[in-house]
Symmetry: C2
Subunit: 375 residues, 2 copies
């Protein structure tokens, strides 16, 4: 129950174990052709969705360095470890970053984006970089509203880290006018880590033509060109492609609407279950991610709870990162997770809190609240 | 029988199919600790060997951009598609490239390296970039001699693409004084594609401290730092790590000497088998790679032979790339290949050449020559 690597269905694991085939064969081209279409379905877009052998960071870096040039001014939302990371990527490439910061746990203030964009009469801002679901805190930022403000600016691009939102909640690329979406396989895709994805709008490709930042492995031009021939510029992770095909097939048979509803129900059930036993939610009210629920453990080191849940029930929770270490734990409910998993993790936490004498109610209250929400 | 993805043993495929585990758990740290040691064994080095989720190109690019700075002068050996690629990587990052070119099929002239390095009295040359086994042509370059000339220069680094030589023939990093070695999982490692490896000497790390080329995902500093704690800077391909552990265990139980001998025997058996039926070897005499044998098909389109071998015997051979398309085919004998595989591919080629009326002898001559060499 961590926010990645997430649980992987047996069908997908079996696909991983197929013998690899030549990546220049027509057999493999069929896989690429199929997954290209499946990826467009998942992104709700007619844009190219390119596949990189690498982590989500590689995809996000690719999105940034393929659309911008040295010295470009960009806005970077920063309310968690990943927001912070994109600031670092921008700095590494000599971009001029305006940070819009928020305390961890609090969503980005969309009004700040609006004001800065409206004040930019000379259209100096080339991109707005936003983390949709901030994995480190379990906060979902209001990407839709921010993207609307960027569209009103008429010049800047929206570059979105959707690593833990894509496949968990609605991210309609075309409808929202998103220009770049980055994601990773070990999240909503229900796959092991190792592949990442960058979707690029036509506006993003126009910016690509102007971009002067140096790149080779992450140069998306050759990915686009080869993708049109159902191929890849470099030897791709063939077995993860097999897994991708299998996982996206499963997602397609469940359907996007159902996937989003499931994640939403799991979010609320987890939140209600935790509140019912007196635990505090870390994310601001109304901004809990559909993928991760963070719990603030005021009176006890969160690592103690995490260790007991692991040792006694063999359930892995995620800890807090950086200054949040020991202050929060995080429950992942992303990807291949069902109602049983939600009840199981809540029951385990209830048992542990009770044994610590810190259960603020009757054992079972969490389960009752979660079960009622799930219904 | 292509030079990658190469055949993968069942043990390794099964390891691929394990459920992924959290990459920040102590269980995964044990895997990283073990594979770090195994990788040092394979590279015959006490240097760091870092693991990147990406292709061999990502590893090679990392080696280049972590040790050099904009405008640096470098020598780049170019006698095939991969040599050509490293020239492109250098150009993308604004390096000043001196190309030492050779016709495809011919090995790099080590004397040219010596002369240019000796003439560089002001020590302007910062690195010499060499492809050890040129996968596109099946030529093995004399890396040992080139590296000796670089060491006499006393300032430049040797950056070696050992993608199809590591695990196929002797590449003793420390003994030869190599500074950077790049390799990829789908080759001698007997694994599916998706992981790549960069080994860095102390001299390379000193150069890292001076390097000003922009990078983030491929910045090796964080890889080194986290590797010391048996971890990774970004979510690694957990399942490919499982495969790596299993594959390197198999390699260790065979032993480096035995692995090298096996590849050498397969090279000579393939060469002798092909010569016995009147086929021409493409690589210059004495410079055939232990991983790949390229055959020049003078009187017939090589693609016809390749197609017949595939259609009739379900054996995939590699074709020629770029201007060599239709002119050569390539037999991969790299990684998990045994004597039976060598006889099988030669028998299939004999049958096809005979049916084309182009077998220059008696069917079976190739097998006889190969079998005798194998003995």
């Amino acid at each position: 129950m961590i926010p990645g690597p997430t649980p992987v269905p047996e069908t997908v694991l079996k696909a991983m174990a197929r013998h690899p085939i030549g990546h220049r064969t027509s057999e493999f081209q069929s896989v690429v052709q199929k997954t290209n279409k499946q990826l467009q379905w998942l992104h709700q877009t007619s844009n190219d969705v390119l596949v990189i052998t690498g982590s989500g960071t590689a995809a996000m870096e690719a999105g940034i360095i393929n659309t911008l040039s040295r010295g470009n001014k960009v806005i970077c939302g920063n309310n968690g470890k990943f927001g912070e990371r994109w600031v670092k990527v921008c700095s590494a490439y000599g971009l001029d970053v305006i940070e819009i910061k928020e305390t961890w746990g609090t969503p980005l203030n969309t009004e700040q984006f609006r004001k800065i964009l409206e004040a930019d009469e000379n259209k100096e801002i080339k991109a707005v970089i936003v983390t949709h679901s901030e994995t480190s805190t379990g906060v979902i930022n209001d990407l839709k509203t921010i993207s609307k403000h960027v569209q009103n600016h008429k010049s800047a691009l929206t570059i979105a880290d959707c690593v833990t939102s894509l496949g968990a909640c609605n991210v309609p690329m075309d409808e929202w006018g998103l220009d770049v979406i980055a994601s990773g396989s070990q999240k909503g895709y229900m796959m092991p880590p190792g592949l990442s994805f960058v979707a690029m709008s036509d506006r993003a490709w126009n910016a690509y033509n102007e971009s002067n930042l140096p790149k080779f492995y992450l140069d998306l031009g050759p990915y686009r060109k080869t993708s049109k021939n159902n191929s890849n510029p470099f030897t791709p992770s063939v077995n993860l492609y097999f897994a991708l095909e299998a996982a996206l097939e499963m997602m397609q048979s469940e359907g996007l609407e159902q996937i989003f509803k499931r994640h939403s129900r799991h979010r609320y059930a987890t939140q209600e279950g935790m509140k019912a036993i007196g635990m505090s939610l870390y994310a601001s009210e109304g901004y809990g991610s559909p993928a991760i629920t963070s719990i603030l453990t005021k009176d006890i080191d969160a690592e103690i709870i995490r260790k007991l849940v692991k040792d006694r029930f063999d359930i892995l929770l995620a800890g807090g990162q950086d200054h949040l270490k020991g202050k929060i734990f995080r429950i992942g409910h992303l990807g291949f997770v069902n109602d049983r998993d939600i009840l199981t993790v809540i029951a385990a936490i209830e048992a542990v809190m009770s044994s610590l004498g810190m259960h603020h109610g009757k054992v079972g209250d969490g389960i009752a609240a979660a079960a009622s929400t799930l219904q």
